[in-house]
């Protein structure tokens, strides 16, 4: 490869490299902090007009925070499990997309497109109401609690999105790598696992983390189908405190803050990885 000196650099049209799809909205730390502060302030004014026997919004949050945080941990657990399931399934689906068998590639393409273009909430409803609450396999009854079903519901769109990420990453490796592997008698499967996928991990990591941040934030959808995750618990706490309107913003603001503090670093890290991998 000729290395042109900096002095006589030729004007070369670099290959078109599309910017990685960005699906999440990024909020700076300052606006977010201001938002939370405003919410709490607005509520405090309302509280100042209320009777003296009532707990302040802050006291309410402190009082219920163990329960609420346990709910939040549940959200994280659901998101991690959904990500794990979705990644394993998505890797399989992505490899099927790249299959030499036309039928397999077509079927997996259909599956991918279906789950990528369906609203997450609709998928969640389908899984919740179409999957039974227990299954009997070989005379053992396995219960399927709501949160497991919700996890599967989230894993489905993850699967489709991961499949697309895998397919795109493998396609982005120059075809000459396939030829080199072929000429060394590697089978297709060996080429994929030993040569293609290891090279893809770097480029797959940022979009994969992006998907994870989206899943983490979407787990609150499970409250709609009755899983006792953080948002469900927040609503219950609100009701237990008499449904006072001035508690609404602080309680939900607390949930907002938890998710923000969890997802923002992930997004920051993703952006950093993207920057680092772009310079190759």
């Amino acid at each position: 490869m000729k290395t042109a000196g900096s002095g006589n650099r030729l004007a070369v049209l670099l290959p078109y490299r599309p910017a990685p799809a960005r699906m999440s909205v990024r909020i700076g730390p300052l606006p977010a902090a201001i938002l939370c502060f405003c919410a709490i302030m607005a509520a405090s004014t309302a509280w100042a007009q209320a009777g003296p026997t009532m707990l302040s919004p802050l006291q309410v949050i402190v009082k219920w925070s163990p329960l609420l945080l346990r709910g939040f941990v549940f959200n994280i657990a659901i998101s991690l499990l959904a990500m794990l399931l979705g990644t394993v399934a998505g890797l399989g689906l992505g490899l099927a997309l790249l299959s030499e068998s036309r039928l397999l590639a077509a079927v997996s393409w259909l599956i991918t497109q279906f789950f990528r273009n369906a609203p997450w909430l609709v998928l969640l409803f389908f899984v919740m109401f179409l999957v039974p609450f227990q299954v009997t396999l070989f005379k053992t009854t396995i219960p399927l609690p709501d949160w497991i079903k919700a996890t599967v519901g989230f894993a489905l769109p993850v699967m489709a999105n991961v499949a697309e990420v895998v397919r795109g990453a493998v396609r982005s490796i120059p075809s000459t790598q396939w030829e080199a592997a072929e000429s060394l008698s590697f089978t297709r499967r060996q080429t994929m696992w030993l040569i293609m996928l290891p090279q893809c991990i770097k480029r797959m990591l940022p979009p994969w983390m992006n998907i994870y941040a989206l899943v983490a934030m979407s787990t609150v959808l499970a409250s709609i189908v009755g899983v006792s995750e953080m948002l469900t618990l927040t609503a219950q706490v609100h009701a237990a405190e008499g449904g006072r309107p001035e508690l609404f913003a602080p309680l939900y603001g607390f949930a907002l803050l938890c998710f923000f503090l969890y997802c923002y670093p992930i997004n920051l890290w993703t952006a950093r990885l993207e920057r680092r991998f772009r310079v190759r």
């Binding site: 490869m1 000729k2 290395t3 000459t176 790598q177 030829e179 080199a180 592997a181 072929e182 000429s183 060394l184 008698s185 590697f186 089978t187 060996q190 030993l194 040569i195 290891p198 090279q199």
Partner: protein, 250 residues
């Protein structure tokens, strides 16, 4: 066919090989043969089908008609075990095509371990010896991105040799190199030839072809215009096209 092949017959036998890409015929009836231990150079202007021919020999591309036999095995046979064929044929590419996520040593070791199922210690010893042979001792743990073009190309040669092929194909392996590193790669190939390796090269290095080749084929627009030992071809070419080409490149 494979049963009837004996080592005194040509390793590669091409008979009236034709290859078309759509309406464009790039190989219009190529016939050549390579015997064991021979060094064959294919020269000719760009777009004359040289690289296509060499890729067809390795079954990287199917031929349209004719016959290519490697040690008596028909390459165009639809039941061909391509992987078995490619174990006999080493190939080195213009752009090296090393695996960028593996070190030089790992690049050389991968195929013997995973394809041939050989034991790691033996493979490693042999890989180190091969890297030393291509003068890259000390670069074992370096990644391709940190090596110069010439060094990468020598790793690629060692990688092919690790499969113990019966014949090595070189597809314009010096075309992408800096002039000063071309020589180190050519020296490596020359040593290989002196060790008795059968080599088929597509090349633009006329001096190399002249000094090392046993037989030189001049191709133009998909046909072999002229061929013969280098001393006759380079000094007493009979065809007008060959003469014109040689006068341009020499």
């Amino acid at each position: 066919m494979a049963a009837t092949w004996t080592p005194d017959q040509p390793i590669v036998q091409c008979v009236d090989v034709r290859k078309s890409f759509g309406a464009l015929e790039v190989l219009k009836g190529i016939s050549l043969s390579v015997r064991k231990g021979e060094v064959i150079c294919i020269i000719g202007p760009s777009g004359s089908g040289k690289s296509t021919l060499i890729r067809c020999i390795n079954a990287l591309q199917p031929i349209s008609s004719g016959s290519i036999q490697i040690e008596g095995i028909e390459v165009s046979d639809p039941r061909l075990d391509k992987l078995a064929l490619r174990r006999k044929v080493g190939m080195v590419f213009q752009q090296y095509n090393l695996f960028p996520h593996k070190t030089a040593l790992q690049n050389v070791m991968m195929a013997p371990i995973h394809v041939l199922g050989q034991k790691r210690p033996e493979v490693e010893a042999r890989a180190r010896a091969l890297l030393a042979k291509v003068r890259l001792a000390g670069k074992e743990d370096t990644y391709p991105g940190e090596l110069s073009g010439g060094q990468q190309q020598r790793v690629a040669i060692a990688r092919s040799l690790a499969m113990r092929p019966d014949i090595m194909l070189f597809d314009e392996v010096t075309a992408a190199l800096d002039p000063e590193t071309v020589k180190e790669v050519l020296v490596t190939i020359r040593e290989l030839a002196e060790d008795g390796m059968t080599c088929l090269l597509v090349t633009h290095e006329m001096n190399f072809a002249r000094e090392v080749a046993d037989h030189v084929y001049f191709t133009d627009r998909g046909v072999i215009v002229e061929h013969g030992p280098p001393e006759t071809l380079f000094t007493a070419a009979t065809d007008e096209r060959t003469q014109r080409f040689l006068s341009q490149v020499l």
